[in-house]
Amino acid sequence: MTELAQGFRNLRNPDPELLKRYSPLRGLVEIEHVAEMVAFLATDAAAGYHGAVINIDNGITAG
């Protein structure tokens, strides 16, 4: 998400109110935390996960 947030810097005259949606109250999620989940899902330890869509967004979609 850090890189994603940086991508907005090149946007001409954005409405700042509309950019707030990707500004989680708890800060941006760490890449390492997402990588650990992606790698875990790739292993047999994740045998119970099929068709699951997992949010790792530091609370963005909480409310």
């Binding site: 946007l11 330890a45 994740a46 996960y49 099929h50 963005i60």
Partner: protein, 184 residues
């Protein structure tokens, strides 16, 4: 975090591995013992990630290509198989992210976003399917909270991620009884 050696003797194809989440995932899987085939359009940075994986002690192939072509996706899977001898996991992480005013988004930007974020994962899964079915392997498609929430200035990106999320779920239904796992 995957347990050490939990991927020993297995191989993973990871797209977007030159930087960011793709690189971090490649290193995490390498630490778990996986041989890795790393794919990205940025050849220089990709080779750096590959060397970091080799330094951990696993086999690593750096395969630089543009995933916006279906043929390139298929060739990447072929290269991974030739290099690693097998394939147990496919992590679709490469993505195109172009914030812009939708009225000004040109055809190339739109088509590239859909090609890399949505079509490439489908073509890669399709090509890897025989191996993943034989090995009871896993597909992990990295989507985004943008799949669930509309976001200004990102119509192409959010649409591609919503579609990738649903692609994951529909393939999970289609392959419900065949051992392979698909998650997002």
């Amino acid at each position: 975090m995957p347990a050490p050696s939990s991927m020993h003797g297995k191989a993973a194809l990871i797209t977007g591995a030159a930087a960011g989440l793709g690189r971090a995932t490649a290193l995490t899987l390498a630490r778990a013992g996986a041989d890795v085939c790393l794919v990205d359009i940025n050849a220089g940075a990709l080779e750096k990630t590959a060397q970091e994986c080799r330094d951990i002690g696993v086999h690593a192939l750096a395969y630089a290509t543009d995933l916006s072509s279906a043929d390139n996706c298929r060739a990447a899977v072929t290269a991974a198989l030739e290099s690693c001898g097998r394939l147990d996991a496919l992590c679709n992480i490469a993505a195109v992210f172009i914030p812009c005013h939708s009225a000004e988004m040109n055809d190339i930007q739109w088509e590239k976003t859909l090609a890399v974020n949505l079509s490439a994962p489908f073509y890669l899964i399709q090509a890897a399917l025989p191996q993943l079915l034989a090995n009871k392997g896993a597909v992990v498609n990295v989507t985004s909270c943008a799949a669930h929430m509309g976001q200004a200035y990102l119509a192409g990106y959010t649409a591609s991620k919503a579609a990738l999320t649903h692609l994951t779920k529909s393939l999970a239904m289609e392959y419900m009884h065949q051992g392979i796992r698909l998650t997002a």
